[in-house]
């Protein structure tokens, strides 16, 4: 497990550092060269409109990572109160009203929802984060509810209630704190899932400009030149693979640690 932790950390460090610090080192955009060329002072060649690929790589990670982070945080922001309320209420009908609609929503394929909205409006980066968060809420709320329901059935909660503690102290002070550990582990897994969705949506052209500096957009737009100049596709694709793969290895290692303690 320790080996997996280290391996995951190493694999995810390269794309993550590049995504967060890359824009600082990108420098000025040089003059545009011919499309899909190699050499000529361009370390990784040029892309479909003649921009330097290395510079695009430095710039292109930030949007993917930030949109995914924002979407994960937003999903929890809604799912946390929803799940806690459903787990702690004594009114069966309230739990049904809160959770049943989510069961129904879970059946709709997530990418489909995003494409549906994209057919009517053109979402920007913020819109994409919102959309992905909405799609992720049902599953996140179910996890929160399951974790909180388990804690809420413990004798400690019963004792708090009999002492006459307020709902707020019981829900946030005790149950909320007890489930935090489970949720931190779940957040890692959820983040990689969100990363998958954000990158796939960007690849399909949702939430990004057609010439945006974004790893997923680079893979899509430079595909036409794959046979002439593969680096413009292979480098961003490898970075996305490393980011998602390493992220999942790391999240799983963290999950295993929590389970044992």
């Amino acid at each position: 497990m320790r080996a997996r932790f280290v391996a995951g950390g190493l694999v995810v460090a390269v794309p993550l550092l590049l995504a967060l610090l890359g824009p600082l080192f990108a420098g000025d955009p040089g003059p545009r060269a011919a499309s899909f060329t190699l050499g000529g002072g361009h370390w990784l060649g040029t892309d479909f409109v003649g921009r330097d690929v290395w510079r695009q790589v430095l710039l292109g990670g930030r949007s993917v990572v930030l949109v995914a982070l924002a979407a994960t945080a937003l999903a929890y922001l809604v799912a946390l109160p929803l799940g806690l309320a459903a787990a702690l209420t004594h009114r069966a009908w309230l739990e049904e009203v809160l959770m049943r609609p989510l069961d129904v929503l879970l059946a709709v394929p997530s990418l489909l929802m995003i494409l549906l909205v994209a057919s009517v409006v053109t979402p920007g980066a913020v819109g994409l984060a919102l959309l992905v968060a909405v799609v992720d809420i049902p599953d996140a709320a179910r996890i929160v509810r399951a974790a909180a329901a388990e804690v809420a059935s413990r004798p400690a909660v019963e004792a708090l209630r009999m002492q006459g503690e307020t709902w707020w102290r019981t829900a946030v002070g005790h149950v909320g704190r007890s489930v935090a550990r489970t949720l931190v582990a779940d957040a890692g897994v959820r983040f990689t899932g969100v990363l998958y969705l954000v990158a796939t949506a960007a690849f399909l052209g949702v939430g990004v400009a057609p010439d945006a500096a974004d790893w997923a957009v680079m893979v899509d737009r430079n595909r036409t030149g794959l046979f002439v100049q593969p680096w413009a596709v292979v480098v961003p694709a490898l970075l996305i693979v490393a980011l998602t793969m390493g992220g999942n290895l790391l999240a799983d290692a963290a999950l295993g640690k929590r389970r044992r303690t």
Binding site: L111, T200, A216
Partner: protein, 317 residues
């Protein structure tokens, strides 16, 4: 049996509610958005003529609930409306893209089960040893990778460097079966994520089953090898995996859209992406209903089958 009967009734009810929700959601997301839908749909430079044409084609002057009822009523007897872009009935779009998508999905499903179960059993047999660690790490890693990134790398290696396989299905039309080499990469990419999740679940279930008292008893009776693993342990390990298999339908539908875009296969995913780009709302609605209802029905079917064979398994309904 009354427990089973009432559970089945509740599960069927949930399925019906989910189907209704899909239809409602598709309508709400595409037509009931705030603002004037006609202006949004007319494109980047809306001229009054185009706006008026869109408004007339979609009947936007009538109240939303009337349009919803009429559209949903049409769906019931297979009338999906007509395309905004071409004026052709939406059903011709559906039948046109159906073949390649069905071929891709069924090929993937046929290969998915033996590959996932095989890998899972292999890892469980060698629990804790090198093979297990290798299979577990690889499945865990690949499981999170978006299809497009994985697919592009496979294309670079097998089509560009080695030249073994065609890079796309361009020029083969809808008759893909006649060109099996063009199908290898798309199916491989579609398999990547579901195989990993299935293998991980089968591994976990097999490890539990192999350590259980009834398998120990079978061992004492002299049952060994493949018969012990596949005849005794596997059936009990498979129930949670079968349920997960239905959940992966979601991924498969998403995967099909990406893979068709990546390998230029003229299936339903490509039709959907073209319609999204052209803002052809009736076509998008029709495809979304087909995709959404397929997901609901397959999930329902899997839950019913699992409940029938493993009544102890917890199935939410």
């Amino acid at each position: 049996m009354t427990g089973l009967a009432s559970w089945t009734a509740r599960r069927l009810l949930l399925g019906a509610a989910q189907t209704a929700a899909v239809v409602l959601l598709v309508f709400a997301l595409t037509e009931a958005l705030p603002g004037d839908a006609a202006v949004a749909l007319a494109g980047d430079q809306p001229d009054p003529e185009r706006i008026a044409a869109v408004r007339k084609a979609l009947d936007l002057d009538r109240p939303a609930h009337e349009r919803l009822l009429e559209w949903a009523g049409g769906l019931l007897h297979g009338d999906f409306g007509t395309s905004l872009a071409s004026g052709r009935p939406v059903s011709t779009y559906l039948t046109g893209g159906f073949g390649p998508t069905l071929l891709l999905a069924s090929l993937t499903l046929v290969l998915l089960v033996p590959a996932g179960v095989g890998l899972g059993v292999l890892a469980a047999r060698h629990e804790g040893r090198f093979t297990d660690r290798l299979v577990s790490s690889v499945t865990l890693g690949v499981y999170a990778v978006p299809e497009f990134a994985f697919g592009v790398l496979l294309t670079t290696v097998f089509a560009l460097r080695l030249g073994w396989l065609p890079p796309t299905a361009v020029g083969y039309g809808t008759d893909l079966l006649a060109h099996p080499s063009a199908l290898v990469l798309p199916v491989l990419v579609l398999l990547s994520r579901p195989v990993c999740s299935l293998a991980r679940l089968v591994r976990a279930g097999m490890i539990d089953a192999l350590a259980s008292p009834y398998v120990a008893q079978a061992r004492r009776h002299g049952v060994t090898g493949a018969r012990l693993r596949y005849g005794h342990a596997l059936p009990n390990a498979i129930a949670p995996a079968a349920q997960q298999l239905a959940r992966t339908v979601d991924w498969l539908l998403c995967g099909v859209i990406v893979v068709e875009a990546l390998y230029v296969i003229p299936g339903l995913g490509t039709v959907l992406m073209n319609a999204v780009a052209e803002r052809d709302v009736p076509v998008v609605q029709g495809l979304a209903v087909v995709f959404g209802v397929t997901a609901v029905v397959l999930n329902l079917g899997a839950d019913l089958v699992v409940r029938r064979f493993a009544p102890r398994a917890e199935v939410a309904a």
